[in-house]
Symmetry: C2
Subunit: 136 residues, 2 copies
DNA sequence: GTTTACTCTATTAAGTTGATGGGGTAATTA
DNA sequence: TAATTACCCCATCAACTTAATAGAGTAAAC
């Protein structure tokens, strides 16, 4: 299940990418237009800023804005920040690898074998889609 | 994140499919060999039986056994029983469709657009893998 | 120097997961 | 037919995560 955090984050990014000019947009405006709890959105935008996707401007006329071109923003990067690992089990994760605590041997694990294929399929989608591809 | 329920279920199915003969295997044996809490495994095997993947035999010499050939058991079906919907949002689910409560219009939703591609990629994997493909 | 809007910390209700215990029941076997 | 075996079901519970909310603080613009 996709978390609301990711859902809201993607919607906010799309909202910003759809602006005619890349001027700061207030949190309140995004929250209202996309039906998002403003406070929750605040924390999401903050983490997107810290991750280098967004810039922010304080004071009157302030808000958030995209720092890169939409077509330069890969879904792999966005998903990893918002949703976490793309892999469904840590033992097949590229960026968050961990040995499964209950599994003695990955080499002969059926779950590992299947989830490796799932991971590759998902990566393929996320690598070939940018924020620009999400705009309708 | 893949739930332990699914993980354990897949491991149990693989264990059964790896048997030389398709005779009943006791829960305790599977649990011990696969490092699974026996009680938890009980409930998982029960739901797999109710879904038509497994048969069970009571009394001495009883246990669980596969009802179909491993290559006839599609991962799409197994995943839907164990993990639930394959789609990450209900609005792109084939078998569990629901309108997203917070989204006024799927047709212009960026999340919908992306998750549709993700769903198709995952379906492609699950449809083209059977239990037989998981055996090492 | 006041306003605006971002930034941070903390709290909390609700839901889910994974594990466990205990009792009951059906089917084998002797 | 009685005892045994192993499935079957119900209830509980701690731990964790998610999503939402509140409130105080801070930096920048006018």
């Amino acid at each position: 299940m996709l978390s609301k955090k990711t859902k809201y984050g993607l919607k906010a990014l799309t909202y910003l990418a759809s602006q005619k000019e890349n001027t700061p947009v207030q949190i309140a405006e995004i929250a209202e237009n996309e039906n998002i709890s403003q406070k929750f959105l605040e924390s999401i935008l903050l983490s997107l800023r810290k991750s280098g996707f967004l810039g922010s401007k304080k004071g009157k006329g302030g808000g958030y804005y995209l720092i890169k071109e939409p077509k330069e923003i890969l879904m792999t990067d966005v998903m990893r920040i918002l949703e976490g690992p793309i892999a469904m089990v840590p033992c097949v994760s590229l960026n968050f690898y961990e040995k499964c605590d209950d599994c003695p041997n990955e080499a002969v694990c059926s779950v590992n074998k299947l989830m490796l294929k799932v991971r590759d399929a998902n990566l393929d989608v996320y690598r070939n889609n940018t924020l620009a591809d999400l705009i309708i």
